[in-house]
Amino acid sequence: MTTYDIIFYLFAAVTLLSAFFVVTNRNIVHSAFYLLFTFFGVAGIYVMLGADFVAIVQLIVYVGGILILLLFGVMLTNKITNIEIKTDSINALPASIVLGLFTGALGAAVLNTNWKVVESPAPEATTTALGNLLINEYALIFELLGIVLLIAMIGAASMARK
């Protein structure tokens, strides 16, 4: 076990455990906070995979943006005064069974596949390279994404305003 491995397992544990709590916790506010840890964990995994820029973005966007958004969603849709924000689950048993089977199948598929691994050394800093890619080869997509974001923003704003 190298340090790398240990760190990996640490992050994996954080991610999966908090994700588990996200899913199972009945208090939605708690779920949201667990989700924060999940995102941190995933960000760590990204770093492990040599994707430092994506990890940063993950932290900024998810933790700083999406999670806050979700929390707002929670608070706006429940009366703050009455913190009965626990939510039930449905189909828990059949879903568990099916998902178990499904996960098993997927896991089996992953484990049984003989992945042809070509380890590529991660570049030291990906930011510059990613920036180059973004404004050269993927410029169009980049622009499109901007538009999508704009539209989503306007759409969300107009929908929420009604």
């Binding site: 994996a12 990204y46 973005v57 979700l70 969603g73 449905i90 828990a92 879903a95 923003m153």
Partner: protein, 103 residues
């Protein structure tokens, strides 16, 4: 345990995916469903980046992951707007009770 490799990451991804899916399927609260979706997206991102690293695809996987994050942000915003709207209309965001589609 082996040296941490592609498979490990994929397993984590699968686990995350399943948990996300579980949330989507079972939770009543629409916000919770959204959280599940975020989990699923994250798991997909892990996959992208893992394959990017272990498949010698350069930085493209990471780039895609970035795009996914952006889209996730957009999706979250729109979805929450919808949820708010539904809440305003029906005073309820319990997904299982919103079944006008049935009729």
């Amino acid at each position: 345990m082996l040296h941490v490799g592609l498979t490990h990451f994929l397993v984590i991804s699968i686990a995350l995916f399943s948990l996300g899916l579980y949330a989507v399927v079972t939770r009543k609260n629409a916000v919770m469903v959204l959280m599940g979706i975020e989990l699923i997206l994250n798991s997909a991102n892990i996959n992208f980046i893992a394959f990017s690293k272990f498949g010698n695809f350069g930085l493209q996987g990471q780039l895609i992951a970035l795009f996914v994050i952006v889209l996730a942000a957009a999706e979250a915003a729109v979805a929450l707007a919808i949820v708010l709207n539904i809440y305003k209309t029906l005073a309820n965001i319990n997904v299982d009770e919103i079944d006008s589609l049935r009729d």
